[in-house]
Structure formats: structure tokens, C-alpha cells
């Protein structure tokens, strides 16, 4: 098989491995030596009921979700979110902002954003008390960890994941400081709930009274070694990320991680899948992966940002516009990462 013959020891090892598989996989006795007892879980997709809707401030409403039979919901840690399936079929993620100790109910809050993607408008206009609602989760990409000292920084509706964190920190008797920024007090939800929490220091900092916040000054409020949780506008998070290592080298900065940025500057093309014999059409604003997944749900992928390399597939025919940061030049000659890269022309044939 190879030019240099493997050593005797190695060949013995390979023979041993084959004997093992002959007994435990190929023999007539194999099925009796290991009886499958698969464990398959359910309940990541939940059918809930909108039990109550409340107006928190002028354009923020909160939704209380319960299971229709009143049973407990999966437990969560502050920072968790739900995927909410909107009546239109679109999907949005909202942080859980209720009390994690109350397993009977989830609470999410949505700010109405005119001219956004329309998700918040649908939540405000089309969802009524008593409606069924389909959610997936909870899932946590912003895990609250147990430390002695915290700084929380929330901007506007970014309060939603932070509120249960502050509540939990207060409950544990940890040292905490919270800075809450927003356009004006009238637009900042959950102020009263924050004011009711014990210990710690709450600082409300509406822009109309204090002007635009200075990230350096906000982060400076953290004790050395504190865990700093930031949620708010992307500029605030980016600034905090850049400043934190110099400002508080023994502390840690936590912000929610998002994946799959939108496709920019794409055009439509067709992908022919040589092995499956199908052709899929890729729209200008979707990735080849997203289009292929409609036909081949089990296709391998992971980061969806062109750096991990999981979705590398061989290109049989057609020129590729490589948009990844991963493949070596030699690999680019005959393969592509389907999560970000696209056809240079109007079609591609993949070995899939």
C-alpha cells in the first residue's frame, strides 16, 4: 500500500484492530455483544402560549410565555435566548429577561424598530395574548459565570439579557455595578425592577441628561478582575472589546456572540450537485450553503464565516470567487468553502 513497509509492531496492531472489528462489528455474535439503546431527546422546539403582553416603556413590550399545560420549561442561565418563529415564518432571537428561578414562564421583551427587518413590528402588531407561539431553545451564547465582582453595561434594549444577570448577582450577594445607558429615561425598560435589587450600585445614564457615554469611562467602573458583561449597540461592544485588555487586564469581557453575517455584494448563480444530480439556485443575498441545505439537509458546515473549513467541497467545474480566509492556494484550485465563497460566473458544479 505504501512505499515503505510498516514495522512488524504496526502490522500486528493493524491485525489486532481488524480482529477486534471482526468480532465486535462483523461477526454473527456482534449484534448480541452490543445492543443499541439509543437516547434521543426532544423538546428543543417548544409550542408555547402567549400568556400576557405588557407595555414596559413607550415602544417596548414584553411577552410572557408559558407551556399550554402549565408544565415546567427547560431551565436556563442568564444570557440565554430563544429563537422565536414569527407568524410570517421569519425567525428572530430574543434574550430571556425574566427570572431564571421561575421555570413556569419565560419572558422576552421587544423594542419596535421602524424600518428594521420587520420582526419587531410583527411581534408588536400580530401577536396577541392567548396566541400559540413556536420557539426553539433556550440556547446560551452569553453565559453568566459565577465570580465575585461584576460590571454590567447595558445600552437600551440590550438590558434584556443583563437584567437576569444583575438579579442573579444580587441574589448571590456578589459585588456588582451596573451602568444603564439609553436615549432617555422614558425609553429605558425595566428601571423599576433594577431599582428593587439589593446591594450593588445602579447608575442610570440617559443620553439626554449626560450626553453620549464614553466607553473608557464606563469600563473604568469595573473592579480589577471583574467579569464585565456588555450588551448594547455594536459600537459600544466593539469599543469595550478594544479597551478592556489594557484597562482591566485581569478582568474578562463578555459579549454575546453572533454568527453568519449577511451576504454582501453577491449575485445569483446555479449550483449543480454532481453526485445527487440536483441543481439549486442561489439567490444574491444567500450563501451557496443556505441554498444547498434546502436540498441536502445533512450537508457539513459549521462557522458560516469562512474560517473553520468544515464545509470544504470539491469543485468539479466552474470558476470560484473565494471569500474565505482559510484555504491554501493549492486547495483553492479544486475546492471551495460553500458557506462564503460563490461562483465567479453564473454556475458551478460541486462534488456533492
Amino acid at each position: 500500500m505504501t512505499a515503505t513497509a510498516p514495522s512488524l509492531k504496526l502490522r500486528a496492531l493493524a491485525t489486532g484492530a481488524r480482529a477486534y472489528s471482526a468480532v465486535f462489528a462483523a461477526s454473527a455474535a456482534a449484534p448480541y455483544l452490543s445492543r443499541p439503546t439509543p437516547v434521543r431527546r426532544t423538546g428543543f422546539d417548544l409550542e408555547l402560549t402567549v400568556a400576557a403582553i405588557s407595555t414596559e416603556v413607550e415602544d417596548v413590550v414584553s411577552f410572557e410565555l408559558r407551556s399550554p399545560d402549565g408544565s415546567d420549561l427547560p431551565a436556563w442561565v442568564p444570557g440565554a435566548h430563544l429563537d422565536v418563529l414569527l407568524p410570517s415564518g421569519a425567525q428572530r432571537q430574543y434574550s430571556l429577561c425574566g427570572d431564571p428561578r421561575d421555570l413556569a414562564c419565560y419572558r422576552i421583551a421587544v423594542r419596535r424598530i421602524e424600518g428594521g427587518g420587520g420582526g419587531s413590528l410583527a411581534m408588536h402588531r400580530e401577536v396577541a395574548e392567548g396566541d400559540p407561539i413556536t420557539v426553539r431553545g433556550p440556547r446560551n451564547a452569553f453565559t453568566f459565570i459565577d465570580v465575585e465582582s461584576y460590571l454590567f453595561v447595558a445600552g437600551g434594549i440590550g438590558i434584556t439579557p443583563i437584567l437576569p444577570m444583575v438579579r442573579e448577582a444580587a441574589r448571590r450577594g456578589a459585588r456588582w455595578r451596573m451602568v444603564y445607558v439609553g436615549r432617555s429615561l422614558a425609553t429605558m425598560p425595566f428601571v423599576e425592577e433594577l431599582q428593587a435589587l439589593d446591594g450593588g450600585e445602579l447608575e442610570l445614564r440617559p443620553d439626554d441628561q449626560f450626553g453620549q457615554p464614553d466607553p473608557w469611562e464606563l469600563l473604568g467602573r469595573a473592579e480589577p478582575g471583574a467579569a464585565i458583561y456588555v450588551c448594547g449597540p455594536p459600537q459600544l461592544i466593539d469599543a469595550a472589546r478594544a479597551l478592556q485588555p489594557t484597562l482591566n487586564p485581569t478582568g474578562s469581557l463578555h459579549s454575546e456572540r453572533f454568527s453568519a453575517p449577511p451576504v454582501v455584494g453577491g449575485h445569483t448563480f446555479d449550483v449543480h450537485l454532481a453526485r445527487t444530480g440536483m441543481t439549486v439556485h442561489v439567490a444574491a443575498d444567500e450563501s451557496a450553503l443556505a441554498a444547498i441545505r434546502r436540498e441536502v439537509p445533512g450537508v457539513r458546515y459549521s462557522c458560516q464565516q469562512g474560517f473553520c473549513g468544515s464545509c470544504k467541497h470539491a469543485v468539479v467545474e466552474g470558476a470560484v470567487e473565494h471569500r474565505d480566509q482559510k484555504l491554501r492556494p493549492a486547495e483553492r484550485a479544486d475546492s471551495m468553502l460553500i458557506c462564503v465563497s460563490r461562483a465567479a460566473g453564473d454556475h458551478l458544479t460541486l462534488d456533492l
Partner: protein, 292 residues
């Protein structure tokens, strides 16, 4: 056999996503644990053996993707595969650095290729036997992942590395990897349980994986030590160095394996019983490579 109803998830999922990490080895010494060549080679096994092992694992587990109907396990597995791919390529980049510094890497790579192909490969089995062998390999990887998660925790807890001044870039690679191993510790196990779940197979593959990993680890590290162009001591002194460096807290030691096996073999074992992963979450928030 009475069929039990499918249990419902009782707690949230942890989002598992690959991180876009970058390492630059230009000024990193090959003896990155200064004064401890054996301990350095012990951790070098991660650069030498894991890339092929992790890719093979990502491939085998990837074959389980179309079999999984549970959207939660499916997305966890997608994230897992991406993390394993970035582990493999990051360790590989240091392997290239070692080769540029005079280590006979191609020789050890031939061994790995042989192992992956002839020992852990598909053995040309088809049909029912191929299916059973696929399940067996899922069991092996689930057990191996239990060890990588516990070694990951060991790496995060270790303070001796900071004290004796292990190269910071390397320490970050080891700890970032360890933290992600903790983060995705349930995935290979849950995939095994989903696809097969046989207890007999779990016991068998756990024993085989532990023995195999131990043998592979000691063989590779002692080979590297014996063939290290910078080591002037006698090349067969590695067992002595193994004991010395373990006592000094630079490696987990063999006791470790014997402590972990009984836990993994409990019939009701689940990786979530291994305690909170706060230290992993915290490390990933400060890791220079993951943050950049």
C-alpha cells in the same frame, strides 16, 4: 426490550461555535516549557497526533449528521465539527514550526496516517458490519472526548505553567483548546447515545480508547524526546523525566486516567455531571487568540 419514551431536555443548550483564532509561532521556542524537554514533548503530542485524530473524528461524527433528527444535537454537532477543524489547523501550524526547526515530523506523520487508515479506518466493512463498526468508532471518539474535556479542565486549572514561564502563545493555544473541549464536552457523547447508546459498547470503547490514547501519547512523546536534536541527555531517560515532570505539575500523569474511567462508566453518566464550565467561559473571554 421495553422502549422508554424519549426524554425531554431539562435545561438550556450552550451555543457551540468555532472561533476565528490566529497564532504566530515565529518567535516561539521549540522547548516552550523552559527546562523541561520531556513535558514539552508530552504536549507536543497534541500538535502531532491530534490534527489527524480530530479530523478523522470530525469525519466520522459528520457521517452521523444526516441521522440526527434532533435540531439541538444537530446544531451542537455542527459547532463541534467547526471547533475540531480549527483545533486541527492550529496545532498543525505549530507542527510545521517544529519541522522547520529540525524535527523529523514526516516520520511521525507516517505513523499517524497508518493508524488512522489501518487501525481506526473503516476496515473495508460494508452493510451491517460497516454500520456496527461506525457505531464502535463513535463510541471510541465519545470516550476520547471525555478525556480531552478533563485534560482541558486540567490545563485551565494549572498554575505551574504560569509560574515557570511557559511561552504565552503556546499556553494560549493549549488553554483555548482545553476550554473549547470543556465547552463541547457533551457532543460526541450525545451523538453516540443518539445513534447507538449500547452500554456494553460504551464500556468496551472506553477501555480501548483510554489504553490506546495512553499508549499513543507515551510512544509519541518518548519518540520525540529520544529524537530531539536539542536534548543532550540520554535518550532513554524519558520515564524518569515523565515522573519528575508529572510531580512538578506539568502533566496530568497516569493516575488521571484511572480516576476518570469509573466516572465515565457509570450507567447514568452524562458529561453535564462534570460540573460548571465557568472557567472555560471565562478563559474564552480572555484568550488572546480567540479575542483577536
Amino acid at each position: 426490550m421495553a422502549k422508554k419514551p424519549n426524554p425531554a431536555y431539562q435545561a438550556e443548550a450552550l451555543a457551540i461555535n468555532a472561533r476565528d483564532v490566529h497564532f504566530d509561532w515565529t518567535d516561539v521556542p521549540t522547548e516552550y516549557i523552559p527546562g523541561h524537554p520531556y513535558a514539552t514533548h508530552f504536549w507536543n503530542v497534541m500538535h502531532l497526533v491530534l490534527p489527524e485524530g480530530e479530523r478523522a473524528m470530525a469525519d466520522v461524527l459528520g457521517r452521523a449528521l444526516p441521522l440526527i433528527d434532533d435540531p439541538r444535537l444537530q446544531e451542537e454537532l455542527q459547532g463541534f465539527i467547526g471547533q475540531e477543524e480549527t483545533h486541527a489547523s492550529s496545532h498543525e501550524s505549530f507542527r510545521i514550526h517544529l519541522e522547520e526547526n529540525g524535527f523529523d515530523i514526516p516520520k511521525i506523520m507516517k505513523l499517524m496516517e497508518f493508524l488512522m487508515d489501518q487501525v481506526f479506518g473503516d476496515h473495508g466493512l460494508k452493510g451491517r458490519a460497516g454500520e456496527a463498526w461506525f457505531h464502535e468508532r463513535l463510541g471510541l471518539y465519545a470516550a476520547a472526548e471525555h478525556f480531552t474535556a478533563t485534560v482541558g479542565e486540567w490545563l485551565l486549572d494549572n498554575e505551574e505553567f504560569d509560574r515557570i514561564g511557559v511561552d504565552p502563545m503556546m499556553l494560549d493555544l493549549l488553554r483555548w483548546h482545553g476550554a473549547e473541549e470543556m465547552e463541547h464536552r457533551n457532543v460526541a457523547y450525545d451523538v453516540y447515545q443518539y445513534v447507538d447508546g449500547s452500554y456494553a459498547r460504551r464500556v468496551r470503547t472506553a477501555l480501548l480508547a483510554s489504553g490506546g490514547l495512553l499508549a499513543l501519547w507515551l510512544y509519541t512523546s518518548s519518540w520525540m524526546y529520544a529524537n530531539d536534536p536539542t536534548v543532550t541527555r540520554h535518550r532513554w531517560t524519558w520515564p524518569l523525566e515523565f515522573v519528575k515532570d508529572t510531580r512538578k505539575g506539568l502533566m496530568p500523569g497516569i493516575k488521571f486516567i484511572f480516576r476518570e474511567i469509573p466516572q465515565y462508566l457509570r450507567p447514568d453518566f452524562h458529561p453535564s455531571q462534570m460540573g460548571p464550565i465557568d472557567k472555560a467561559v471565562r478563559y474564552l473571554a480572555v484568550s488572546p487568540a480567540a479575542r483577536a
